[in-house]
Protein backbone atom coordinates (compact mmCIF):
# COMPACT_ATOMS: atom_id res chain seq x y z
CA UNK A 1 0.00 0.00 0.00
CA UNK A 2 1.52 3.41 -0.89
CA UNK A 3 2.66 5.40 2.11
CA UNK A 4 0.27 8.34 1.60
CA UNK A 5 -2.78 6.10 1.42
CA UNK A 6 -1.55 4.20 4.44
CA UNK A 7 -0.98 7.42 6.39
CA UNK A 8 -4.37 8.86 5.49
CA UNK A 9 -6.09 5.56 6.35
CA UNK A 10 -4.37 5.59 9.74
CA UNK A 11 -5.48 9.17 10.38
CA UNK A 12 -9.04 8.30 9.48
CA UNK A 13 -9.00 5.22 11.68
CA UNK A 14 -7.76 7.36 14.55
CA UNK A 15 -10.43 10.01 14.03
CA UNK A 16 -13.35 8.71 11.96
CA UNK A 17 -15.13 12.08 12.24
CA UNK A 18 -12.28 13.96 10.56
CA UNK A 19 -12.50 15.27 7.02
CA UNK A 20 -9.42 13.34 5.98
CA UNK A 21 -11.75 10.93 4.20
CA UNK A 22 -12.01 13.54 1.43
CA UNK A 23 -8.28 13.35 0.69
CA UNK A 24 -8.14 9.61 1.11
CA UNK A 25 -11.06 8.87 -1.22
CA UNK A 26 -9.72 11.31 -3.80
CA UNK A 27 -6.31 9.70 -3.69
CA UNK A 28 -7.84 6.22 -4.07
CA UNK A 29 -9.89 7.52 -6.98
CA UNK A 30 -6.84 8.97 -8.70
CA UNK A 31 -5.11 5.63 -8.30
CA UNK A 32 -8.19 4.00 -9.86
CA UNK A 33 -8.99 2.03 -6.71
CA UNK A 34 -12.62 2.90 -7.27
CA UNK A 35 -14.30 0.37 -5.01
CA UNK A 36 -12.15 1.45 -2.09
CA UNK A 37 -12.74 5.11 -2.96
CA UNK A 38 -16.48 4.46 -3.05
CA UNK A 39 -16.45 2.83 0.39
CA UNK A 40 -14.51 5.72 1.93
CA UNK A 41 -16.73 8.31 0.23
CA UNK A 42 -19.95 6.64 1.39
CA UNK A 43 -18.65 6.24 4.90
CA UNK A 44 -17.65 9.91 4.98
CA UNK A 45 -20.97 10.98 3.55
CA UNK A 46 -22.82 9.05 6.24
CA UNK A 47 -20.91 11.03 8.87
CA UNK A 48 -21.14 14.36 7.03
CA UNK A 49 -24.39 14.32 5.04
CA UNK A 50 -24.54 18.13 4.85
CA UNK A 51 -21.03 18.59 3.50
CA UNK A 52 -21.13 19.64 -0.15
CA UNK A 53 -17.54 18.46 -0.71
CA UNK A 54 -18.54 14.97 0.41
CA UNK A 55 -21.35 14.84 -2.16
CA UNK A 56 -19.00 16.23 -4.81
CA UNK A 57 -16.41 13.59 -4.03
CA UNK A 58 -18.98 10.80 -4.06
CA UNK A 59 -20.29 12.08 -7.43
CA UNK A 60 -16.79 12.01 -8.92
CA UNK A 61 -16.29 8.41 -7.84
CA UNK A 62 -19.71 7.49 -9.22
CA UNK A 63 -18.81 9.17 -12.51
CA UNK A 64 -15.63 7.16 -12.72
CA UNK A 65 -17.77 4.07 -12.20
CA UNK A 66 -20.09 5.26 -15.00
CA UNK A 67 -23.04 5.61 -12.62
CA UNK A 68 -24.07 8.95 -14.10
CA UNK A 69 -27.61 8.93 -12.77
CA UNK A 70 -26.54 8.86 -9.15
CA UNK A 71 -23.61 11.17 -9.84
CA UNK A 72 -26.09 13.70 -11.18
CA UNK A 73 -28.17 13.42 -8.00
CA UNK A 74 -25.10 13.85 -5.79
CA UNK A 75 -23.85 16.94 -7.63
CA UNK A 76 -27.37 18.31 -7.57
CA UNK A 77 -27.41 17.75 -3.80
CA UNK A 78 -24.02 19.45 -3.44
CA UNK A 79 -25.42 22.50 -5.22
CA UNK A 80 -28.47 22.59 -2.98
CA UNK A 81 -26.16 22.68 0.02
CA UNK A 82 -23.64 25.07 -1.55
CA UNK A 83 -25.07 26.80 -4.65
CA UNK A 84 -21.64 28.12 -5.67
CA UNK A 85 -19.78 24.84 -5.40
CA UNK A 86 -17.57 24.94 -8.49
CA UNK A 87 -16.79 21.22 -8.38
CA UNK A 88 -20.50 20.38 -8.55
CA UNK A 89 -21.10 22.99 -11.25
CA UNK A 90 -18.27 21.56 -13.31
CA UNK A 91 -19.46 17.99 -12.73
CA UNK A 92 -23.00 18.79 -13.81
CA UNK A 93 -21.65 20.62 -16.85
CA UNK A 94 -19.79 17.45 -17.77
CA UNK A 95 -22.92 15.29 -17.39
CA UNK A 96 -25.11 17.75 -19.30
CA UNK A 97 -22.60 17.74 -22.11
CA UNK A 98 -22.56 13.95 -22.15
CA UNK A 99 -26.31 13.82 -22.73
CA UNK A 100 -26.09 16.45 -25.45
CA UNK A 101 -27.44 19.44 -23.49
CA UNK A 102 -24.72 21.90 -24.48
CA UNK A 103 -26.68 24.95 -23.29
CA UNK A 104 -26.97 23.61 -19.75
CA UNK A 105 -23.30 22.57 -19.80
CA UNK A 106 -22.28 26.07 -20.86
CA UNK A 107 -24.58 27.74 -18.29
CA UNK A 108 -23.12 25.69 -15.43
CA UNK A 109 -19.55 26.44 -16.49
CA UNK A 110 -20.31 30.14 -16.83
CA UNK A 111 -21.78 30.18 -13.32
CA UNK A 112 -18.70 28.40 -12.01
CA UNK A 113 -16.44 30.87 -13.75
CA UNK A 114 -18.28 33.80 -12.15
CA UNK A 115 -17.70 32.19 -8.75
CA UNK A 116 -14.04 31.49 -9.40
CA UNK A 117 -12.77 33.61 -12.32
CA UNK A 118 -9.16 32.66 -11.56
CA UNK A 119 -9.75 28.94 -12.13
CA UNK A 120 -8.03 28.35 -15.47
CA UNK A 121 -9.54 24.87 -15.79
CA UNK A 122 -13.03 26.38 -15.89
CA UNK A 123 -12.17 28.79 -18.67
CA UNK A 124 -10.56 25.92 -20.54
CA UNK A 125 -13.62 23.71 -20.05
CA UNK A 126 -15.93 26.48 -21.25
CA UNK A 127 -13.81 26.94 -24.33
CA UNK A 128 -13.97 23.19 -25.01
CA UNK A 129 -17.74 23.14 -24.70
CA UNK A 130 -18.06 26.08 -27.06
CA UNK A 131 -15.93 24.15 -29.53
CA UNK A 132 -18.06 21.04 -29.11
CA UNK A 133 -15.57 19.01 -27.09
CA UNK A 134 -16.47 17.60 -23.67
CA UNK A 135 -15.31 19.34 -20.50
CA UNK A 136 -13.62 17.19 -17.88
CA UNK A 137 -15.66 16.43 -14.78
CA UNK A 138 -12.48 16.82 -12.83
CA UNK A 139 -9.63 18.70 -14.45
CA UNK A 140 -7.09 17.13 -12.11
CA UNK A 141 -7.71 13.65 -13.42
CA UNK A 142 -8.32 12.45 -16.96
CA UNK A 143 -12.07 12.18 -17.47
CA UNK A 144 -13.92 9.00 -18.13
CA UNK A 145 -14.38 8.27 -21.81
CA UNK A 146 -16.27 11.17 -23.29
CA UNK A 147 -18.46 10.99 -26.36
CA UNK A 148 -17.85 13.67 -28.92
CA UNK A 149 -20.62 13.13 -31.41
CA UNK A 150 -24.38 13.30 -31.15
CA UNK A 151 -24.69 9.68 -32.23
CA UNK A 152 -22.61 8.58 -29.26
CA UNK A 153 -24.43 10.83 -26.83
CA UNK A 154 -27.97 9.65 -27.53
CA UNK A 155 -27.85 6.13 -26.02
CA UNK A 156 -26.62 7.49 -22.70
CA UNK A 157 -29.70 9.67 -22.40
CA UNK A 158 -31.82 6.55 -22.77
CA UNK A 159 -29.74 4.42 -20.45
CA UNK A 160 -30.03 6.98 -17.67
CA UNK A 161 -33.68 6.05 -17.10
CA UNK A 162 -32.71 2.74 -15.59
CA UNK A 163 -29.16 3.53 -14.48
CA UNK A 164 -28.05 1.18 -11.75
CA UNK A 165 -30.82 -1.35 -12.38
CA UNK A 166 -30.04 -4.88 -13.46
CA UNK A 167 -30.67 -5.41 -17.17
CA UNK A 168 -30.82 -1.68 -17.93
CA UNK A 169 -29.17 -2.18 -21.31
CA UNK A 170 -30.84 -5.37 -22.46
CA UNK A 171 -34.00 -6.16 -20.51
CA UNK A 172 -35.79 -2.91 -19.65
CA UNK A 173 -37.68 -0.69 -22.02
CA UNK A 174 -39.73 2.47 -21.52
CA UNK A 175 -42.16 3.47 -24.27
CA UNK A 176 -44.69 6.16 -24.96
CA UNK A 177 -48.23 5.10 -26.00
CA UNK A 178 -47.29 5.31 -29.69
CA UNK A 179 -44.50 2.77 -29.23
CA UNK A 180 -41.67 5.32 -29.32
CA UNK A 181 -38.72 4.37 -27.14
CA UNK A 182 -38.17 6.72 -24.19
CA UNK A 183 -35.37 4.75 -22.60
CA UNK A 184 -33.73 1.40 -21.99
CA UNK A 185 -33.03 -1.29 -24.54
CA UNK A 186 -33.83 -4.91 -25.30
CA UNK A 187 -31.59 -7.62 -26.63
CA UNK A 188 -32.60 -11.16 -27.46
CA UNK A 189 -30.71 -14.13 -26.09
CA UNK A 190 -28.28 -13.99 -29.02
CA UNK A 191 -27.40 -10.39 -28.17
CA UNK A 192 -29.24 -8.85 -31.12
CA UNK A 193 -30.91 -5.51 -30.47
CA UNK A 194 -34.68 -6.02 -30.72
CA UNK A 195 -35.73 -2.74 -29.11
CA UNK A 196 -37.52 -1.19 -32.07
CA UNK A 197 -39.34 -4.34 -33.17
CA UNK A 198 -40.72 -5.02 -29.69
CA UNK A 199 -41.64 -1.36 -29.23
CA UNK A 200 -43.60 -1.39 -32.47
CA UNK A 201 -45.62 -4.45 -31.45
CA UNK A 202 -46.34 -3.05 -28.02
CA UNK A 203 -47.79 0.20 -29.33
CA UNK A 204 -51.43 0.25 -28.35
CA UNK A 205 -51.18 -2.56 -25.81
CA UNK A 206 -51.87 -0.23 -22.89
CA UNK A 207 -55.00 1.11 -24.59
CA UNK A 208 -56.13 -2.41 -25.38
CA UNK A 209 -55.52 -3.51 -21.80
CA UNK A 210 -57.38 -0.47 -20.48
CA UNK A 211 -60.38 -1.17 -22.74
CA UNK A 212 -60.48 -4.81 -21.69
CA UNK A 213 -60.28 -3.95 -18.00
CA UNK A 214 -63.02 -1.33 -18.37
CA UNK A 215 -65.34 -3.65 -20.26
CA UNK A 216 -64.98 -6.28 -17.56
CA UNK A 217 -65.52 -3.74 -14.78
CA UNK A 218 -62.08 -4.49 -13.39
CA UNK A 219 -61.02 -0.89 -12.88
CA UNK A 220 -57.57 0.17 -14.06
CA UNK A 221 -54.96 -2.28 -15.19
CA UNK A 222 -51.90 -2.32 -12.98
CA UNK A 223 -49.70 -4.90 -14.64
CA UNK A 224 -49.50 -7.54 -17.30
CA UNK A 225 -47.40 -10.62 -16.68
CA UNK A 226 -46.75 -13.07 -19.51
CA UNK A 227 -44.88 -16.35 -19.71
CA UNK A 228 -43.12 -17.33 -22.89
CA UNK A 229 -41.48 -20.59 -23.85
CA UNK A 230 -38.03 -19.13 -23.32
CA UNK A 231 -38.59 -16.07 -21.17
CA UNK A 232 -41.01 -14.01 -19.15
CA UNK A 233 -42.16 -10.44 -19.56
CA UNK A 234 -43.90 -7.91 -17.35
CA UNK A 235 -45.62 -4.71 -18.45
CA UNK A 236 -46.44 -1.80 -16.19
CA UNK A 237 -47.51 1.81 -16.52
CA UNK A 238 -45.17 4.08 -14.55
CA UNK A 239 -47.38 6.96 -15.70
CA UNK A 240 -50.50 7.23 -17.88
CA UNK A 241 -48.29 8.31 -20.79
CA UNK A 242 -45.67 5.61 -20.58
CA UNK A 243 -45.34 1.85 -20.55
CA UNK A 244 -42.54 -0.17 -19.06
CA UNK A 245 -41.50 -3.59 -20.31
CA UNK A 246 -39.28 -5.93 -18.33
CA UNK A 247 -37.94 -9.04 -20.04
CA UNK A 248 -36.09 -11.83 -18.26
CA UNK A 249 -35.15 -15.43 -18.93
CA UNK A 250 -37.66 -18.10 -17.96
CA UNK A 251 -35.69 -19.01 -14.84
CA UNK A 252 -36.73 -15.74 -13.20
CA UNK A 253 -40.02 -16.46 -11.41
CA UNK A 254 -43.02 -14.23 -12.06
CA UNK A 255 -43.09 -12.92 -8.50
CA UNK A 256 -39.46 -11.85 -8.76
CA UNK A 257 -40.20 -10.30 -12.15
CA UNK A 258 -42.97 -8.24 -10.55
CA UNK A 259 -40.52 -6.93 -7.94
CA UNK A 260 -38.02 -5.97 -10.66
CA UNK A 261 -40.81 -4.28 -12.61
CA UNK A 262 -41.90 -2.28 -9.56
CA UNK A 263 -38.37 -1.01 -9.01
CA UNK A 264 -37.93 -0.14 -12.66
CA UNK A 265 -41.33 1.59 -12.69
CA UNK A 266 -40.28 3.75 -9.74
CA UNK A 267 -37.05 4.70 -11.54
CA UNK A 268 -39.00 5.44 -14.72
CA UNK A 269 -41.55 7.50 -12.84
CA UNK A 270 -38.80 9.64 -11.27
CA UNK A 271 -37.14 10.05 -14.65
CA UNK A 272 -40.41 11.03 -16.33
CA UNK A 273 -41.08 13.65 -13.66
CA UNK A 274 -37.69 15.20 -14.36
CA UNK A 275 -38.49 15.47 -18.07
CA UNK A 276 -41.47 17.76 -17.47
Amino acid sequence: MPEDIRALSAQLAQDPQSLVFLRLAELLRQKRQLDAALRVAISGLERHPHLADAHDLYARVLTDKHDYERAFDEWDMALRIAPNHTGALKGLAFLYFKVGDVDQARAHLETALKVDPDDATLAQALEMVQQGAPPAADAAVPPVEAPVSGAEVAPLEDARVFAGLEGAEEGLLLLDPAGRVLGGALKDRHGADVTDAVAAYLAGVSQEAARTAKLLGLGSWTGLAAEGGEGNVFLKQPSPEAMLLVVRERGVPMGRLAVIANRAAQAASRWLERQV
Binding site: A197, T212, W221, E230
Partner: protein
Protein backbone atom coordinates in the same frame (compact mmCIF):
# COMPACT_ATOMS: atom_id res chain seq x y z
CA UNK B 1 -71.61 -26.70 -25.69
CA UNK B 2 -69.92 -30.10 -25.91
CA UNK B 3 -69.26 -32.05 -22.74
CA UNK B 4 -65.48 -31.83 -23.18
CA UNK B 5 -65.58 -28.04 -23.39
CA UNK B 6 -68.04 -27.82 -20.53
CA UNK B 7 -65.90 -30.02 -18.30
CA UNK B 8 -62.79 -28.01 -19.16
CA UNK B 9 -64.47 -24.74 -18.18
CA UNK B 10 -66.05 -26.30 -15.06
CA UNK B 11 -62.63 -26.98 -13.60
CA UNK B 12 -61.65 -23.36 -14.05
CA UNK B 13 -64.84 -21.80 -12.71
CA UNK B 14 -64.73 -24.02 -9.64
CA UNK B 15 -61.69 -22.12 -8.38
CA UNK B 16 -62.75 -19.67 -5.69
CA UNK B 17 -62.75 -16.10 -7.02
CA UNK B 18 -63.21 -17.02 -10.68
CA UNK B 19 -66.20 -15.14 -12.14
CA UNK B 20 -66.25 -16.90 -15.47
CA UNK B 21 -64.30 -18.77 -18.11
CA UNK B 22 -64.34 -18.92 -21.88
CA UNK B 23 -62.83 -20.72 -24.81
CA UNK B 24 -61.98 -18.26 -27.56
CA UNK B 25 -60.73 -18.82 -31.10
CA UNK B 26 -57.34 -17.13 -31.07
CA UNK B 27 -57.36 -16.12 -34.72
CA UNK B 28 -60.74 -14.35 -34.94
CA UNK B 29 -61.67 -13.73 -31.31
CA UNK B 30 -65.00 -15.56 -31.47
CA UNK B 31 -66.42 -17.35 -28.45
CA UNK B 32 -66.29 -21.15 -28.69
CA UNK B 33 -67.75 -21.86 -25.26
CA UNK B 34 -68.41 -19.84 -22.14
CA UNK B 35 -69.44 -20.07 -18.51
CA UNK B 36 -69.71 -16.49 -17.34
CA UNK B 37 -71.42 -14.75 -14.46
CA UNK B 38 -74.25 -12.47 -15.43
CA UNK B 39 -73.18 -9.05 -16.66
CA UNK B 40 -69.98 -10.11 -18.38
CA UNK B 41 -70.18 -9.45 -22.11
CA UNK B 42 -68.62 -12.62 -23.48
CA UNK B 43 -68.23 -11.73 -27.17
CA UNK B 44 -66.69 -8.34 -26.45
CA UNK B 45 -64.31 -9.74 -23.86
CA UNK B 46 -63.36 -12.54 -26.25
CA UNK B 47 -62.58 -10.07 -29.03
CA UNK B 48 -60.45 -7.84 -26.82
CA UNK B 49 -58.66 -10.76 -25.17
CA UNK B 50 -57.86 -12.20 -28.57
CA UNK B 51 -56.56 -8.87 -29.86
CA UNK B 52 -54.41 -8.34 -26.77
CA UNK B 53 -53.13 -11.90 -27.07
CA UNK B 54 -52.11 -11.32 -30.67
CA UNK B 55 -50.17 -8.14 -29.85
CA UNK B 56 -48.47 -9.82 -26.92
CA UNK B 57 -47.58 -12.90 -28.94
CA UNK B 58 -45.92 -10.77 -31.62
CA UNK B 59 -44.04 -8.63 -29.11
CA UNK B 60 -42.82 -11.70 -27.22
CA UNK B 61 -41.69 -13.39 -30.41
CA UNK B 62 -39.80 -10.21 -31.37
CA UNK B 63 -38.21 -10.12 -27.90
CA UNK B 64 -36.96 -13.66 -28.41
CA UNK B 65 -38.79 -15.16 -25.44
CA UNK B 66 -40.68 -17.69 -27.54
CA UNK B 67 -44.38 -18.34 -27.83
CA UNK B 68 -46.69 -16.83 -25.28
CA UNK B 69 -48.02 -19.57 -22.98
CA UNK B 70 -49.87 -17.69 -20.26
CA UNK B 71 -50.65 -14.10 -19.45
CA UNK B 72 -52.27 -12.34 -16.54
CA UNK B 73 -53.76 -8.86 -16.80
CA UNK B 74 -53.73 -7.46 -13.28
CA UNK B 75 -56.32 -4.80 -12.48
CA UNK B 76 -57.23 -3.05 -9.25
CA UNK B 77 -60.63 -4.76 -9.12
CA UNK B 78 -59.88 -8.12 -10.69
CA UNK B 79 -57.88 -10.00 -13.27
CA UNK B 80 -58.00 -11.58 -16.68
CA UNK B 81 -55.97 -14.75 -17.12
CA UNK B 82 -55.32 -16.45 -20.43
CA UNK B 83 -53.63 -19.67 -21.52
CA UNK B 84 -52.88 -20.65 -25.12
CA UNK B 85 -53.74 -24.16 -26.21
CA UNK B 86 -51.70 -25.85 -28.89
CA UNK B 87 -54.57 -25.61 -31.36
CA UNK B 88 -54.79 -21.81 -31.19
CA UNK B 89 -57.69 -21.73 -28.74
CA UNK B 90 -57.42 -19.32 -25.82
CA UNK B 91 -58.69 -20.42 -22.44
CA UNK B 92 -59.75 -17.28 -20.61
CA UNK B 93 -60.70 -16.70 -16.99
CA UNK B 94 -62.14 -13.57 -15.40
CA UNK B 95 -61.39 -13.42 -11.69
CA UNK B 96 -61.50 -11.37 -8.52
CA UNK B 97 -58.40 -9.43 -7.57
CA UNK B 98 -57.56 -11.74 -4.66
CA UNK B 99 -57.86 -14.99 -6.62
CA UNK B 100 -55.20 -17.68 -6.26
CA UNK B 101 -53.41 -16.97 -9.55
CA UNK B 102 -51.28 -20.09 -9.35
CA UNK B 103 -54.33 -22.30 -9.03
CA UNK B 104 -56.21 -20.61 -11.85
CA UNK B 105 -53.15 -20.89 -14.07
CA UNK B 106 -52.94 -24.60 -13.31
CA UNK B 107 -56.61 -25.19 -14.15
CA UNK B 108 -56.34 -23.09 -17.31
CA UNK B 109 -53.37 -25.19 -18.44
CA UNK B 110 -55.34 -28.38 -17.75
CA UNK B 111 -58.31 -27.01 -19.65
CA UNK B 112 -56.06 -26.03 -22.57
CA UNK B 113 -54.67 -29.56 -22.63
CA UNK B 114 -58.17 -31.01 -22.56
CA UNK B 115 -59.42 -28.93 -25.47
CA UNK B 116 -56.24 -29.64 -27.41
Amino acid sequence: MTTAYSQALDRVTRVRGVRGAMLVAGDDGLVIAEQLMEGIKGPAVAALASSLATRLRRAMAAAGVGNSLFWHLQCDKGALLVVFSGSGVLVVAVAEADVNVGLVRLELLRAAEAVG
